[in-house]
Symmetry: C3
Subunit: 315 residues, 3 copies
């Protein structure tokens, strides 16, 4: 029971990955997020739950979009937020990651939201800080992006009510995707009976079946009778690499079109973590179509991040 994410009472201490978290914790986050959906729809979108708390957005890798979601979530909880783009500052002055963290902790930080290009960075920080400080992983290398995974679960439950009767397909660059890893662990923990991954061999991790997923290399077979499609972003840098012949070729085989979507169930929903490459992994007709729940994902994402912060702060 040495889970660095839970305290000795089994409560959430840090959110680092969806892997190894019990279903009860995942469901508690989703249930708490339900209550915050209402807050973000009110005229005054603010609750005083984190008033006087100091949250540091510690971004060692730039991401305006993700930083913004956490900043908005924290401000709607009335926290004080400080944005730190570390690439451009003390790291260049030769300070170590843990010295930076110690320094900010000494300013009586309450929470760190960490984005880093190295897998394990958020874990390293979580192991290092004092118990009154909480760490949220906002994406570390290829490893995990748990709030993205959780908002996807929230979205799926919102439209499908239950996890226990679903067939879910994750499509695209599984190999490099921290989002895919966080989705797979959450889906299996929450009891989804069939999780599929659909990708060319060059974009699949070795022995991915061990994670409890079924592997497909072709959309025609993989999408058959699927309830939920989780599309992945094809990173620009992959497109230019030797792993892919061309983006046109990729779109032809793995880009989601209305035609391919018709292979799934009639009421299947389509998710994407954004930002989208239209015409690469997804066709605009699908992205903007009636089965897309891509924008609701963003809305729910604020509520899920508010829930995580609120739970970590002990509310």
């Amino acid at each position: 029971m040495n889970n660095p994410q839970l305290n000795k009472h089994g409560e959430l201490q840090h959110l680092l990955t969806t892997e190894g978290l019990p279903a009860s914790i995942l469901l508690h986050i989703l249930d708490t997020a339900e209550s915050f959906v209402g807050v973000t729809e009110r005229d005054i979108k603010k609750v005083p739950l984190l008033r006087g708390k100091s949250i540091f957005n510690l971004f060692f890798e730039p991401s305006t979009r993700t930083r913004t979601t956490f900043e908005i979530a924290a401000k709607r909880l009335s926290a004080d937020v400080v944005n730190l783009n570390i690439a451009a500052s003390s790291q260049t002055k030769g300070e170590t990651l843990l010295d930076t963290v110690d320094n900010l902790s000494a300013m009586h930080a309450d929470m760190f939201v960490v984005r880093h290009s190295q897998s394990g960075a958020a874990h390293l920080i979580a192991r290092h800080v004092r118990p009154e400080i909480h760490v949220i992983n906002a994406g570390d290398g290829r490893h995990a992006h748990p709030t993205q995974g959780l908002l996807d679960m929230f979205t799926i439950r919102h439209y499908k009510n239950d996890f226990h009767n679903l067939r879910v397909a994750i499509v695209g660059d599984i190999l490099h995707s921290r989002v895919a890893r966080s989705q797979i662990h959450a889906l299996t923990t929450l009891g989804v009976p069939e999780v599929r991954v659909i990708a060319p061999k060059t974009l699949l991790p070795a022995r991915v079946e061990r994670l409890g997923v079924h592997v497909y290399h072709e959309m025609t077979q993989g999408l058959k009778d699927v309830d939920v499609l989780l599309m992945l972003r094809l990173q620009n840098e992959r497109m230019l690499s030797a792993r892919l012949p061309s983006t046109e070729e990729y779109f032809k085989y793995y880009g989601l079109t209305q035609e391919k979507l018709a292979l799934a169930k009639r009421d299947a929903i389509v998710l994407h973590p954004g930002p989208m490459n239209r015409g690469v992994e997804i066709d605009s007709a699908v992205a903007d179509g009636g089965q897309s729940v891509i924008l609701p994902q963003v809305t729910f994402g604020i509520a899920v991040r508010m829930a995580v912060m609120s739970i970590l702060a002990g509310n």
Copy 2:
């Protein structure tokens, strides 16, 4: 009556340009701004009018100065403000402008303050968003910069009381200036009987007379009996281009000196949108002299932006 800036009740829905706005709307903004001048002079410079609202400063073109004025205005209205410098983020990830906007809208944005190098960007966004979201154009290409135009009107009214008996001259690079366009439309709508533009031919748009202005190529004639001088900033990039012989030459003919200012009325006032190029379009003796109202413009600019935000939010 298909004005994208007004809702079906004829109220301000977006502020995109001063062009086509009725005088009643312009005057309502100026009158509302009067009440906010008092707020910014109080000991606690804050009112709760926009508490719990989320305002996104969406700057696709960097401008610390303009961003700061909107940030301060929003904070004094108690709004939550998020700054997004988009050049450095998702645009480089290949996301489209409207996908970025959809994404932020899904976070329950209330207002977008948009600065973009492309004319029409703010209009595009305004046409795209849901009716509960409001767009303020903070400068789009060569097209419009309506809050600058409005703060100039506020300043003119403050010192001259009325618009109906004024002779106003706009001096400088009219061709590339969104500020000049916003000034011309506001001045003519508010009933200024004589608006002049003074510039070399290379810095005037084709058929500028159509906007209702009188064209002058020399300061000696153009400044004669003028009540208000609206100086324009000479963009650095223009100075280096083939349109101008040299900045010295420009200063000699169009730079505002005490000597040239003496051609205008004795109580004429001098405005400039900043940042100034001292010794290029304006001499320091004038910029810092008794007829300059350049710093009051900045002060009034905060009140005008508070007014626009407050009106858009339905207060």
Copy 3:
């Protein structure tokens, strides 16, 4: 009595340098900071002392760490804070420093926190602004960094109770260090009887003895019977210059190891302004050891900055 830092009643008007400030003012800041240490340890780390005030972090030289300390301090006083990284904006548009300041002052700024690579920049601004605006120097060239000096004094008093019986050594690159200058002036004003500087000749200013310090070139002699060690950061750019043979060589002679620390008093404390170059000016065993008070310095630094802001605002 023409001290630009004091108003005609002898009260603090600006904080520009520790030089020339009477002991009573320094002690008033330290005493006020004591009360804020409690605030930063509370559950809701916020007091409404500066509500509705506008504080501008005016950073002409990037420093995420220092900017963050002021941002956090201001937010915990409930002020509105605007961060301006000026290098990247209007300075490149050719605006002068004082035009930038005039502009922000016209937005009803209450306080400027100024970091600049030029010595004297904060003084220049303080002389220029209206009396209701207060300037805090957050580091100007090689000249001064008074809040750093003050937080060091706070830390020394916290651990040693009194200044009047201490032997203090400042170790490292005195020549280029604004921190060292602010420490020396504060220490001598507060009545420390013996202040030593320890450095190679190439890293000492000419006639440094005039500041009232004793000069040592070797750690063995300089550290003997010392109560407090103030380590300085060795700037990367100095390491590469001709002033130093190599960082290894520097560490051998001036890097603080447990062995060298043993020369000081047994209860001596070690301070460092950060960010540290581990293995250059300080060994990790010392930095993380029982005599290091480097992290408490950071904690006290927030309280000291809150105290300075609160006093300047008239509380």
